[in-house]
């Protein structure tokens, strides 16, 4: 669900940044007064809570585990606007500090999960709970539903973002330059996992935590309850939900052919043209098909062509069959590579053990990052603003270039910078390269067969064609993901978090946002420690095998204990802030001057990035 760097084109990324900014701005404006009160620590602690809850492995039917994002419960407790900020802040810290989700994709990830997720969760909850009493079961059910629909909306948006990439961004030979699969593959591949695993995890967390709050702190549910003063009317929310449904590409999918995937011939057929126009808010489609579309219309039948029986060569059925084949191939690759993961054990780990391991790994990562940042290599000595701009522009260049050799050159530069900054190749491979290999590998591998084009080799028994376009596309995706991940890990391994925050102020990020980022980061560690203690003590007391229902109850209760602790912390922090003179305004001590010897590396890094974009077009 966290879209990494390199899967979306630069223009898509920029578009989603632009789409998210008005929501962030509106949220900050709406909360301007609230942020002067207890809301400031509450928001940051909630953001930290959401971060930690993303690391909770929840037991699901069928013996699998999944994790939630926490947008359901945050929209219910904080209201939609504060929830947008809280989840966005958690996502930014994940992307920048833990490399989970790309830096260029922060706009898209925030739009999907923080903005759409919070708004959907809030609207569904208000509509479904209607005027039920605070303590009623109906609210628990409504919360579960809100979480489930919110995470699936976010997943669908991500799937659509992936799915439109090959249509708009491909080279002259037809190799997709970014995410290689069209909507017919990307939507089922994303949704199968989210409608079952991740959706259920979010459902359990939302419902479980609302039930927990009903018993421990019902006052917190009042903000979004019937008599909340400034809440919009339920009728308006119904209307909002209806609009969302219409906007949802799923709805459009049901109307006609997949939105944006009309066949080249459709552009000539007057009736289809009317349908397209209706589905795209009355914008008339171009007279001629976009050139790429012509080539891509064969994508479905690529691996099967020539072997498929006649009825599959029939366009609509062939479309469905190859979409299904593509989806299952991706899922299969994912499962296979997961089996190859290094920490495979003979005994299956319980969900509690998994959670403990994840939490410990996050703490260990932070520890390692701080050690390296203090070790005094080449990048460590640079001003954080120089690094932010310099490495940021290299990441942007990596996403923008279309030549494999240029990607390899940037990766080589990143490795050289890493060596100069006392980061060993061994560390890079264990921390970055293997993880990207597994994740992006699972996604890139099937593209070799699924992308239509010239077959340069056929698999012996299956007869699947390996196309040159597919190879190039998979190689682009893979190299891009490795390079951006290496660069972003360089940034965080050589920069102390407080310095990075000060650098943000230089770029006119509002003080309150910088303070929220700082407090959230601080409390992530407190909550990680607390969560680990809770998990470990559960582990220690765990005897025998638990029933599935008990496991889920235990997981929800653990999250509940953590939530109560988080809320207590936020109240206490507010006291501590008041005691030292907090009156609603926050200030930072900033020194915005750049030393002259900072300009040289800044100029060098940005010049390299610009040259890379120019020569790597």
């Amino acid at each position: 669900m966290h879209i990494p760097d390199g899967y979306l084109s630069p223009s898509t990324c920029a578009g989603f940044y632009a789409a998210s900014v008005p929501f962030w701005y509106a949220a900050l404006r709406r909360l301007r007064h609230a942020l002067h009160t207890r809301m400031l620590p509450l928001l940051s602690v909630f953001s930290a809570f959401s971060f930690v809850i993303m690391m909770f492995n929840l037991p699901l039917p069928g013996g699998t585990t999944g994790h939630a994002v926490g947008m359901g419960v945050s929209a219910i407790v904080l209201g939609p606007w504060a929830s947008i900020l809280a989840i966005s802040i958690a996502l930014v810290i994940q992307a920048v500090f833990f490399g989970d989700g790309g830096i260029t994709a922060i706009g898209a990830n925030c739009f999907n999960m923080a903005i759409a997720g919070s708004l959907v969760a809030y609207a569904v909850y208000r509509v479904a709970a209607y005027r039920a009493a605070i303590g009623s079961t109906r609210r628990v059910v409504a919360a579960g539903l809100a979480g489930y629909l919110a995470i699936n909306t976010a997943a669908l948006l991500a799937a659509v973002e992936f799915g439109v990439q090959p249509l708009f961004f491909h080279d002259a030979a037809g190799s997709p330059l970014y995410a290689p699969y069209p909507l017919a593959v990307s939507i089922p591949a994303m949704m199968i996992g989210h409608l079952t695993i991740a959706g259920l995890a979010e459902l359990i967390i939302s419902a479980g935590l609302v039930a927990w709050l009903q018993r421990t702190d019902p006052g917190l549910l009042e903000r979004t309850a019937p008599d909340a003063a400034a809440g919009p009317s339920v009728r308006k929310l119904w209307l909002g939900l209806a609009v969302l449904l219409v906007l949802t590409p799923l709805g459009i999918l049901a109307v006609g052919g997949a939105w944006g995937e009309w066949s080249a011939r459709d552009f000539a057929d007057p009736q289809v043209r009317r349908q397209i126009a209706a589905a795209s808010a009355n914008h008339a489609p171009p007279q001629r098909a976009p050139s790429g579309l012509q080539r891509l219309s064969t994508i479905w039948t690529a691996p099967l062509s020539g072997y498929a029986p006649a009825f599959i060569r029939n366009a609509p059925i062939g479309y469905l069959v190859s979409a299904a084949a593509g989806t299952s191939l991706i899922l299969l690759c994912g499962l296979l590579l997961k089996q190859l993961l290094p920490d495979r054990r003979r005994r299956r780990k319980t969900f509690i053990e998994k959670t403990t391991t994840t939490l410990a790994r996050a703490l260990q990562h932070a520890f390692f990052a701080e050690e390296t940042a203090n070790s005094g290599g080449f990048l460590q000595r640079l001003d954080p603003r120089v690094k932010l701009v310099g490495i940021g522009s290299l990441i942007a260049a990596t996403v923008a270039v279309h030549q494999l050799w240029m990607l390899a050159a940037i990766l080589a530069l990143a490795v050289v910078l890493a060596r100069l900054s006392r980061i060993t190749l061994r560390n890079l491979s264990t921390r970055v390269w293997i993880a990207v290999l597994v994740f992006t590998g699972a996604i890139a591998l099937p593209a070799i067969f699924l992308t239509p084009g010239e077959a340069i080799y056929r698999l012996p028994v299956l007869g699947w064609p390996v196309t040159s376009q597919g190879l190039r596309s998979a190689a682009l995706l893979f190299l891009r993901a490795e390079t951006t991940a290496t660069l972003s890990v360089l940034l965080i391994l050589t920069t102390l978090w407080p310095h990075l925050l000060h650098a943000l102020r230089f770029f006119r990020v509002p003080v309150v946002v910088v303070v929220l980022l700082g407090m959230t980061y601080r409390y992530i560690f407190l909550l990680l420690e607390t969560a680990r203690e809770i998990s470990e003590s559960r582990e220690a007391r765990q005897v025998g095998v638990m029933q599935p229902a008990d496991r889920r109850r235990l997981a929800a209760a653990t999250a509940g204990v953590l939530l109560s602790k988080s809320l207590w912390v936020s109240g206490e922090v507010h006291m501590a802030m008041l005691a030292r003179g907090f009156r609603g305004e926050v200030y930072l001590l900033e020194d915005l001057r750049l030393r002259w010897n900072d300009w040289l590396p800044l100029g060098a890094l940005t010049a390299i990035a610009a040259a890379a974009i120019w020569f790597g077009r």
């Binding site: 102390l496 700082g518 601080r522 206490e572 003179g581 930072l588 001590l589």
Partner: protein
Amino acid sequence: MTDLAFEVRDVSYRYQQVPALDGLSLEIRRGERVALLGANGSGKSTLLRLLAALHFPDRGDILYFGESLSERRLQDEEFFFRFRRRVGVVFQNPDIQLFNPSVFDEVAFGPLQLRWPRDQIRGRVYETLETMGISRLADRAPHRLSGGEKKRVALASVLVLDPEILLLDEPAAALDPGSQSQITDFLVSWGGGSKTVVTATHDLDTLEDIADRCYVLENGKVAGEGAPLAILHDVPLLERTKLVRPHHHVHDPSAPQPGPHPHLHRRP
């Protein structure tokens, strides 16, 4: 100007429906070092927060140098800054007190909030870190510090403002004996005896070092008051308020037998 830093008059306060203070009255003179003794739940932490004007009494009144500490009074910006500047609070749990991303930012938070001139703040922060012996921690993140280091940073974050009145909640709790004595020594020498220090504690070992006078609290009321030595010798009071456990032991058999009696163990 009155010589009473705080005058607590018949104050009651309920904390989440549970009575925490129940008609409590006491006085703290300027320049005095006072210990608030009491078992867990006796109300000493709550009282400290009321003195710090973080909570306000449900009933009764608290006077700060003769002025009533009410929610309304604190709304006044001029009074708010004057009060926060002069009254520092160190919370029991340093994880609560340290909410900034680095030690430097933590110590700079108070001066920034009180809108000191910016060019002074940097120097003053380094000076304070130096005094507390934690200059090398300036860039560290609070979550990476040891318990003793966290406590020092928490103290530094308050002392940077050079308050006249310091309110301490269990300053030595959960510290190893070495760190405990360092903190105690620091507090003993701090301000050369001209500062008002109110310490909530249940640690009797350091009582004489940190206080000139003690109040013993029980169920939200004052159960006893006096000089540290007098309180330490009032064994029935200490037993009743659960500050010591009743405890028998046998003396050297060759010495005259005094018979079983309640005892306090004091360190030499």
